[in-house]
Structure formats: C-alpha cells, structure tokens
C-alpha cells in the first residue's frame, strides 16, 4: 500500500440516526402548513402575510441579536422559524405589522436569547410574545376578522367576529344562558369556520400535522393526551353541573386554542418535561389551569397562560419524575440482594 489511508478518529458511537435539530424544526414548520392553509382559506391574504412577516421577523431578530451578543448565527437550524410560525398562528389574521414585529423581538429576545439561545429558555418563546402582546395591545389582539371562505359565501357581512369562547365568557358575565347564544356548529368549529387566532381555528388541520410529528417521534402522546383529556373531561363535568353557565367538553375541545396549544406549543421539547411521566403531569396541569381560566378567569381563553405557568414547573416536575434505573429493582419474593 503506497498511498496511506488517512484515518478519522473519534469516540463511539460512529453512526448516527438521520435526526438533527434542523430536521426536527423544519418538520414542525411543515406540519403547521395545513393549519396555515386553512387560515388563508378563511381569512385570505392577510393571514399569509402575517405568517410570512412573523417568520422572517423572528429569523432576522435572532440573527441580529446573535451578532450583537457575539454568538454564532444559527438561524438555519429552523428554531426561529418555528417560533415565527407559532407566533403568527397565535395572532389575529389582521394583526398590524408593527405589532407582529414587536412580537418577534419579544419572542426571540425576551423569550429565548436572554436565556442563552436555543435549549436554554424556560418559557415557550412564541407564547411569551403572545401574552406580552395580549396585555400590551388588548384591542388589536382581540378583534378577530370574521372568517370568509374563499369558496362559497360568507355567513355574515360582519367585518369582525367574536371567538366562541369570547361569546361564552360574555354571556357568563351578563348572566345569559349559553343555550341562547348563536354559537357556530361543532362541525364548523372543527373545520375552522369561526373567529379566532390564525392557527387555532382548524382542529382537523392541526391534528393532521401533529399525527405526523407523533409518527416521527418528534412529539410523544403524553402531553397532548393529558392536556386535551383533562380539559375535555373537566369541562364536561362542569357542563353537567350547570349547562347554562358552562359549555360542554366537546365545545372546549374545538372552540379555542386548545389543540394548537396542546399539540404544538405544550409539546415544545425545550420547555416541557423530558420523561413521559413528567409530560403527563405537565399536560394535566396545563389542562386544569386552562379550564379554571376559561370558566372563572378574566380572559375567555387560558391555554397560553396555562402553558407558560406550567413551563415554570418543568424543572421541579423533571426532578420528581426521574426514570427508574436498570439494576435498581429489588429481587422478587424478599430474596436477599446479593451484594
């Protein structure tokens, strides 16, 4: 052998699964496309512009901040794009451009970069921005454009529409029974034909995207099942107690941001517990807080607050849900452990 073979030396393992951070992140973005398309169908071009501006905004803000902090610019990893699309999906379709940009700065800056970048943040960046905007600009954040499908005629000529949860909350405050309200039908809500944030309206589109993430193993079933399950069950229990005051479990399921939150926001890897057991507890906490806010809180919707509050509990949940190590099961039938 005249030509010597050059050798690469590194520690084992020497092979790797095809998964990578960019692959995970861009897959999440792709799986939010169905929900985005539904919102374009119902809200038209403004929805598309909101999504585009938010994604570009988040990526640009991250690049600028990384430069400012003298950190490597890693925008191609797709994490900023995920934050951008999630933020957009949490906004009304006609959100003003300046508000979207403020949202981008808050999400990436306060939500992520101040903690040290990807993987270090405690709270879901998109939700930090959404709640910031909701508190700062309540009018713009709660005037929802009425859905007008691209095909067929709109149900009303109205320009704005209340969200179903908003209608229920108002009725509760005025002492009107829920039965007297003109709520959209359940099928309409499941498809997305209702007022609401861009991405939360279509339960079916969200479910489709999430199922693929589940299949790829990028999310697990634990958080969605316990989050959605606890909201539906708890909601239904109160509905049985007082159907005039409290809407049904199936209404809770499709009316607001539950599916967007439970499938795509609460499952954020960085800000949720690391084990399945921890995720079950996390989801349950999210569900209970969501119902409490929806039924008795000052806001009609509680998903964002619930997830952010539970984000804060993740370290302590992780601490108490450490998996059982192999080799620590005591021998059966009281056999003496051989040391």
């Amino acid at each position: 052998m005249n030509e010597r073979l050059k050798l690469i030396v590194s520690s084992s393992p020497h092979v790797h699964s095809p998964d990578s951070i960019p692959r995970v992140m861009w897959t999440v973005v792709a799986m939010l496309v169905p929900a985005t398309l539904v919102s374009v169908y119902f809200f038209g071009l403004p929805a598309l512009l909101t999504v585009a501006l938010s994604m570009i905004g988040c990526v640009v803000v991250e690049a600028l901040l990384a430069k400012l902090f003298k950190k490597p610019i890693v925008i191609r990893d797709g994490a900023a794009a995920v934050t951008g699309i999630l933020l957009a999906l949490n906004l009304p379709a006609n959100a003003p451009w300046w508000m979207i940009l403020i949202g981008c700065v808050v999400a990436i800056g306060l939500g992520k970069m101040v903690y040290g970048g990807l993987g270090q943040n405690i709270f879901n960046p998109a939700l930090v921005a959404r709640v910031f905007l909701l508190i700062s600009f309540p009018v713009q954040m709660t005037s929802w454009p009425a859905p007008k499908p691209l095909l067929g005629s709109a149900a009303t000529d109205a320009v704005t529409a209340a969200t179903p949860l908003g209608m229920v909350k108002e009725a509760a405050m005025l002492g009107k029974p829920i039965g007297s309200l003109d709520l959209p039908g359940w099928t309409d809500m499941a498809v997305g034909y209702m007022g609401g944030s861009l991405g939360e309206i279509s339960a079916i589109a969200l479910l489709l995207g999430a199922l693929f993430l589940l299949y790829k193993g990028y999310i697990t079933w634990h958080t969605p099942v316990s989050f959605i399950g606890s909201v539906v069950v708890l909601g239904q229990v109160f509905h049985w107690i007082n159907p005039d005051l409290y809407p049904s479990g199936s209404f809770h399921l499709v009316a607001g941001g539950l599916l967007l939150g439970a499938l795509f926001m609460a499952t954020d890897m960085v800000t949720s517990p690391i084990t399945g057991k921890g995720q079950l507890i996390f989801g349950l906490g999210c569900g209970v807080i969501t119902v409490v806010i929806r039924l008795w809180g000052g806001y009609p919707e509680g998903v964002s607050f619930a997830i952010l509050l539970m984000n804060a509990f993740v370290p302590i949940i992780d601490r108490y849900t450490v998996p059982k190590k192999f080799g620590f099961t005591p021998p059966e039938k009281g056999e003496e452990e051989a040391a």
Binding site: K6, K325, E337, A338, A339
Partner: protein, 438 residues
Amino acid sequence: MIGRMFRGGVHPPEKKLSADVPVKPLPVPEQVIVPLSMHIGAPAKPVVQGGDEVKLGQLIAESSGFVSANIHSPVSGVVRTIEPRDHPLGRKLPCFVIDNDGKDDAVEFTPLGDWPTAEPKALIEAIHAAGIVGMGGATFPTHVKLSPPPQFPIDTVIANGVECEPYLTSDHRLMLEHPDRVLEGLRIVMRVLGLDKGFIGIEQNKPDAIALMREKVADHPGVEVLALPVRYPQGAEKQLIYAATKREIPSGGLPMNVGCLVQNVGTLAAIRDAVVEGKPLVERIVTVTGEAVAQPVNLLVRLGTPIRLLIEAAGGATVPTAKVISGGPMMGLAQYTDQTPVIKGSSGLLVLGPEQAPVIEAGPCIRCGACVRGCPMGLQPTELARLVQNDDFAAAEAWGVLDCIECGSCAFGCPAHIKLVHWIRFGKAEVMARRKKG
C-alpha cells in the same frame, strides 16, 4: 421465553453486508504483533524472549495473576523482540514481534479426552491453559468467569449469539458454519457449572442461524434457542440476561449476582477446541466490512495480524479518508493507525467513509428526551453529560454515571449530535479516579 424485552434501545440500520459471505482463512502474515494484553486484567508475563524459536501454539506468555490469561504463538518462527507497539486500545503497549517461518510447525496438542466425564476443575484448567477470554469484545478471562465464588451459585448459562452491533457478522457466520462447535462449547460450560439448562440467544434478523441452531439442539433437551427481537443493545450482557430470565443485575453487580453466566458463541467454540482438541486460542473470525471497503468479507485470522492486511483482503479502502473501527459502529474503537494487530476481542473491522460516519459538531441540547428514551439502563444521558461538563462528578455519580454501559444508544439518536458517551466515559473515569484517591 421467561424473560422480557428491556426498556429503551434503538434500531440502527443493520447493514449486515457480509452476512452471506462464507468465512475464509486469511494467509498468515510474515510477521505478527502479539500484545501481552489481549484481555482484561494483568498483562501476561513473557516466558520466551527475543531470539527464541517458537512453534505454533506454544505458550509464550503466562497469566500473571488471578485475572489474566495465557498467550500462545499464532505462528511458528522466531521471536524478534518484545517492545511497545500500537495497540487497538489506542496507545503503545508491549507486544511480541514474531517473524513467521511459514511452516506452521505446531506444538503437540493434548486433548482432554472424554470431557462429559471430566471433572469441572480439569475442564476449567484446560480452558485456562488455552488462554481463552471473552471473544465478544470484553475479553474477560473465561476461566475466571467459570469459577464464581461459592456464594454465587450459577443456575443459568446463556450463549450470546445476538450480535446486535450493525455490520458485524462473525458470530452469525460461526453459528452457520460451525453450529456443533458452539453447541459443544455450551455443553462443556454447562458441565463445568453442573447445569442441565442453557439458552442460546440470537436476534431475529438471523433466521437461518436460529433455524440451524434449533435443529442442532433438538437432541439436547436442556438447551433452548431464544429468538430475540431486533433491538440494540439486545446483546449487552445485562439486557440479554433480562430477556432470557427477567432478572435484573443489581447496579454495580455482575451476572453471577443473579445466578447467570453469559458466553459469546465465539468463546464457546474456542472452549470446545481447547477441551476436545487441546488447541489454544491463536485465531478468530473477523468481519471486515463497511461501505468503504470494496468487498466485505469474513476472515479466519491469526492473532497478531496487522489490520492493514485485513483491509487489503477486503479489496482495500475505496476512499482516501476513512474511519477504521475495531469492533462495531456503536461501541468499536476508531483506530489511529492501520498497524494495530488483531487481538482476541477483535470481532470486526469496520471501514466507514466520511459519508457513513460524519463528524458533526455538537449543538445545544433541546431536551427532546431521545437519549432518555433510548437508554437501556434507565439513565438520563443529557443530564449526566451536563453534570460532567460542569465538573460536578459527585452529582454525576449520584445520577448513576457508573451504571452506563456505553452502548451509544443515546448519542446515536441525539438530534443535537452531543457526544454523550464521550462525556459520560470521561465522567466515569473521573469518578473512579476520585474513588481510588479515597
């Protein structure tokens, strides 16, 4: 099956490129490099020196302590010198350098005779004399393993034909081509331990080996073939015992703590040769494979053969820059030179191009939990790596860093490409060093 599937694990692409290639002997080289350490434990003590003539199979170094092993000359010829040479472990260690005279002039082997009536002690002595160590890669001296202290009675022996590492096929070919040797070796071990029950564990991706071994054990009602689900690391000792018996080796313990003993099928064949033919361990089957060799093969190789010759026998490397790995892709050791020799634990030689084994810079942990789900020991690799990076070795120990079996399942699946095993290995070494210091 009494046992059950372990938790965790991963399923890397199996890539058994050489599964259908029959074993053929590699021509014996002109010179062999035989390390004094081809086993775990104390290096063997030379009994010949530079200038001495040796015969094939002649004892050239004897075990020098309770955990040590004999070494025999793999060729006939002249010992040129004993000096430090490149060892597969990644540093220079004392080795015999023996010039081969090409005659393969062997010492006379003395078989034990009728082993089914032999005393266990005599069998263990024959195994000790033959220099047999665990050939799955761990290289623990077999005679020590077969002599457990009396307070740990063994009731179950398992032949390990799982071969869960991707690419490797040496155990698979051995079971297909020499099933009787494997089975006889297992029966010898059962005789040593006074057992009438034994298992042969094989992964379901080797249906031909499973069928053949089942056929062979038909005459031996005490031996059962376990067809195990294909999941890495099914062949790790703890996971295999769990699969066969549902017994969990306690943390820090050994198989004997749960009355079990595991032997690689290659070791069993060597045990049989030692007892039935009186043959010492001087050669083994090595899979030479990977996308970066022209023709993946299974070779019967004399110990001490430089791996450069094995790569040539597989048609040479097809890329200018490659990773040459002694062992499998999950746990093998990347070699820094192609001059290192084949030793008793060399089950495979894997040559991967930059495409199959890219070196990717680690990103930040995104807490996805893939490592936690993948860990067959129930550990939290990302947490362990973080603690080790922060020099918090006491906490790393409390989180079970020493329980890590370094199987690589965590790092395999990590989307951030964090070198989890590397950090954990460093942490283990630090914890052990601190313990020694007291």
